[in-house]
């Protein structure tokens, strides 16, 4: 069945190992600065959009290596429309809803061409990339629109005060955050134990106790460590709440629901899925509608964080999202990938971004590095699989 333990272990956890190595690398080159509470905090809030976009991109990639090149432009466009609306004193809630609806509509538009007319995704979304960039410019008329709604900024994680307030009034240390971390760990352990007991009682296979405990220990340690770091800064960034929400919802969706199954199935063998009575066109369509929706959400988070909307926002976002997915183990041919992988991939990209910024590297060379990292991640994936569809 499985080959030697060492090689399978290595292959399964390659990206996590890579993540650890990269963190160590940057700790050294930034003299530990990268692990400062403030920077951990920045890592999360500055890369919230990557987690959100990559989750949506994952769903598209699962269906067969299909991507969406327009997300950056959609982020900008949705943000632009929302900002303009709020500038014109439109109700914040209405503006937020409008942005999400726009995302959904764009997703439906692109999804229609891709799923029902069979336009190759990269062309359809390439067209979208240009069209929506142009529209963003047109909407903003080339100018920056600043956002003044306190409520909006607070809820979506922007400005200076974007943290979950400390209910325990700790000085210099956010107790709520620490406690939240502890609760998270407790819940995780409880759920894992419950599953294990359940499975054992029904006679199903369970993983060896040793590895389960090891995995739990490591994950708990990481959670506690992050909570500690965040608590030492200002607590839970609001952006984190949104990230977690998206990850949990889509984590559930991809592993436990029918539609999640269908996304994997379509990427695994489209014909077989169709012959099983599943409407594969609808599956592709849903993947792209969802992407539009999440792009709009990312747009909301972006303009909140930067408290403004500019025509240049979102550039390169598609790169980050695609990179996070592939680094996280998604297959370029579809059918393989997970939300957990996206987390690792997005974190890795975020650490690289962060690390390079702290090191003071020229923004242009950062682009070069990003390109190379993407290439290496995919090359690795392809070489280790060496299987074609």
């Amino acid at each position: 069945m499985e080959k030697t333990n060492a090689s399978t272990f290595l292959r399964k956890y390659t990206m996590i190992i890579a993540l650890i190595l990269v963190v160590i690398f940057f700790s050294i080159t930034t003299e530990g600065k990268i692990l400062f509470p403030q920077n951990i905090n920045n890592l999360i809030s500055q890369n919230a959009y990557v987690f959100v976009l990559a989750t949506g991109m994952l769903l598209c990639i699962l269906t067969g290596g299909n991507i969406d090149l327009s997300v950056g432009s959609v982020v900008c466009f949705a943000g632009a429309v929302g900002a303009m609306m709020m500038d014109k004193k439109v109700n914040v809630v209405a503006a937020v809803l409008a942005m999400l609806v726009i995302g959904i509509l764009i997703g439906m538009w692109q999804g229609f061409w891709i799923a029902y007319v069979k336009v190759p995704p990269f062309i359809a979304t390439l067209a979208g990339m240009y069209a929506f960039r142009g529209l963003s410019n047109a909407v903003l008329q080339g100018m920056t629109v600043s956002i003044k709604s306190e409520a909006f900024i607070k809820v979506f994680g922007g400005g200076a005060d974007c943290y979950v307030p400390d209910l325990f009034g700790g000085e210099g240390f956010n107790m709520t955050c620490m406690i939240a971390g502890c609760i998270a760990v407790a819940v995780l352990i409880a759920v894992q134990l419950k599953n294990r007991i359940n499975n054992k009682s029904r006679g199903y296979e369970t993983a060896p106790l040793g590895s389960t405990i090891a995995k739990l220990a490591v994950i708990s340690a990481v959670i506690l460590w992050i909570s500690y770091k965040l608590s030492s800064h200002k607590g839970i960034p609001t952006a984190l709440i949104w990230i977690l929400l998206v990850l949990l919802v889509y984590g559930y969706l991809t592993t436990k629901t029918r539609i999640g199954r269908y996304l994997y199935a379509v990427g695994g063998n489209e014909k077989a899925t169709r012959l099983s009575g599943i409407n594969t066109k609808k599956v592709y369509f849903i993947a792209y509608v969802n992407m539009g929706f999440l792009a709009a959400l990312a747009g909301i988070l972006t303009i909140a964080r930067l408290t403004s909307s500019q025509p240049t926002y979102g550039q390169g976002y598609e790169m980050d999202a695609i990179g996070a997915c592939f680094i996280g183990g998604a297959s370029a041919y579809g059918g393989v990938g997970s939300v957990a992988g996206v987390v690792v991939g997005a974190t890795l990209m975020g650490v690289i971004n962060q690390g390079m910024s702290i090191m003071g590297m020229d923004a242009n060379y950062q682009k070069v590095v990003k390109g190379l990292v993407l290439l290496i991640a995919v090359a690795f994936d392809v070489l280790s699989k060496r299987e074609k569809k």
């Binding site: 061409w113 007319v117 069979k118 240009y130 047109a138 790169m319 242009n364 682009k367 995919v378 074609k388």
Partner: protein, 386 residues
């Protein structure tokens, strides 16, 4: 009625082109037909023809594209600018080195795609990012200008009039006439040969119609260009490249292999053809052609800037798709691409003449690309049994 539909389907893009030209002529109150417009059409779009030729070769192999061309143009400009302007290097040497850079990039890219099996759009997406960054970094975010006269003249200049015409460049007119004659002769000879050998040949009428239409277009161009100063050098570059690649794709064995790979790569491999080598060549070729279009850009701007080449991949892919190149590979011709590139060039020019905002131009470009692909797919759906 059926005959009309058939004709429409066969020559859709050409008909669309004519309609669009008419549309813009009306909207710009005839400015579209000014001599300067014809010149601008060529000057502003020469790079598209060159890039799209390379993109065509890539797409034939299976709908594969190269997203890095625009960024690589910027990079080429940056190193070219440093060599020729800052470094004072001689133009021919610098050009040689730039070709060298293209070859190196093409080899690396081709290797990664053909031999390591990295999906092309990912490999070139990495290039899209990396070269933009590298190019901008080399330029320190600034512009290097002006480019040496000799270099610029190679592209922006025009062929001098051997006959010393005053208002009209007679050489240009003459060349136009000769081109027409050649075309008609070749068409007639081709048909004659077919008839002699017993193949199906088109009716004499359709050959005549085609000769007349093409001649009109050639002469129109020749006349307008003659008024505007003669044959632009850019046009010579484009014509040579187009003719060479048309020959390669339609008459050589290697050109044939590009098509069959796009049709069925395994079947081609098992027929004894080195398919990896073809993929490799497609991307190597793309890189070298990108260098040439980089030169054209540098000449036109007379500078190397960090924003050079923006959206170029879009233009090239659109030109191919609009020109009937299949997004899945295996079909498409150089002349089809020429029509497609011309169409897009006309749309660009028309919009500029009409004074449409650059942002809305972007939107229109996106919509046109989408429409072209949809149309091509719909067209093919009818042809194949589902």
């Amino acid at each position: 009625m059926n005959k009309a539909m058939e004709i429409f389907r066969k020559h859709t893009m050409k008909i669309v082109l004519v309609l669009i030209v008419i549309f813009f002529s009306v909207m710009t109150e005839g400015q579209m037909f000014a001599a300067s417009s014809f010149q601008a059409l060529i000057a502003q779009n020469a790079y598209v023809f060159v890039l799209a030729t390379g993109m065509l070769m890539c797409m034939l192999t299976g709908g594969n594209i190269d997203l890095s061309v625009g960024s690589f143009v910027c990079f080429v400009g940056a190193i070219g600018g440093h060599m020729m302007v800052r470094g004072g290097m001689s133009v021919p040497v610098a050009m040689l080195l730039m070709v060298g850079a293209g070859v190196i990039y093409g080899v690396v890219e081709g290797f990664l795609i053909a031999y390591i099996n990295i999906p092309p759009w990912i490999a070139t997406l990495a290039g899209y990012l990396a070269f933009r960054g590298w190019g901008t970094a080399l330029l320190n975010g600034a512009t290097i200008a002006p480019m040496p006269e000799g270099f610029i003249k190679m592209f922006n200049g025009s062929i001098p009039d051997v006959f010393g015409g005053a208002a009209l460049n007679i050489t240009c007119l003459l060349v136009g006439v000769i081109a027409c004659v050649l075309f008609v002769v070749l068409q007639l000879k081709g048909r004659n040969d077919k008839v002699k050998k017993g193949y199906e040949a088109e009716t004499m009428t359709s050959v005549i119609v085609r000769c007349v239409l093409v001649s009109v277009v050639i002469l129109l161009f020749a006349w307008k260009l003659a008024q505007a100063g003669g044959i632009p050098n850019n046009l010579v570059w484009v014509a040579v490249i187009v003719l060479i690649y048309n020959f390669i794709t339609s008459k050589t064995t290697i050109g044939r292999y590009f098509y069959t790979i796009g049709g069925n790569v395994e079947a081609t491999r098992l027929s004894g053809i080195d398919t990896k080598r073809i993929f490799f060549l497609a991307y190597l070729n793309m890189a070298v052609l990108t260098v040439i279009s980089g030169w054209m850009t540098m000449a036109r701007l007379s500078a190397a800037t960090p924003t050079a080449g923006t959206n170029y991949e879009m233009d090239a892919i659109s030109a191919c798709v609009v020109g009937g190149v299949s997004a899945y590979g295996g079909s498409g011709t150089v002349f089809g691409m020429v029509i497609g590139a011309t169409l897009i060039g006309v749309i660009n020019l028309g919009m500029s003449l009409m004074g449409i905002d650059a942002n809305w131009q972007k939107v229109v470009k996106g919509v046109v690309l989408l429409a072209a692909v949809v149309f091509e797919i719909m067209n093919n759906k009818e042809k194949t049994k589902d």
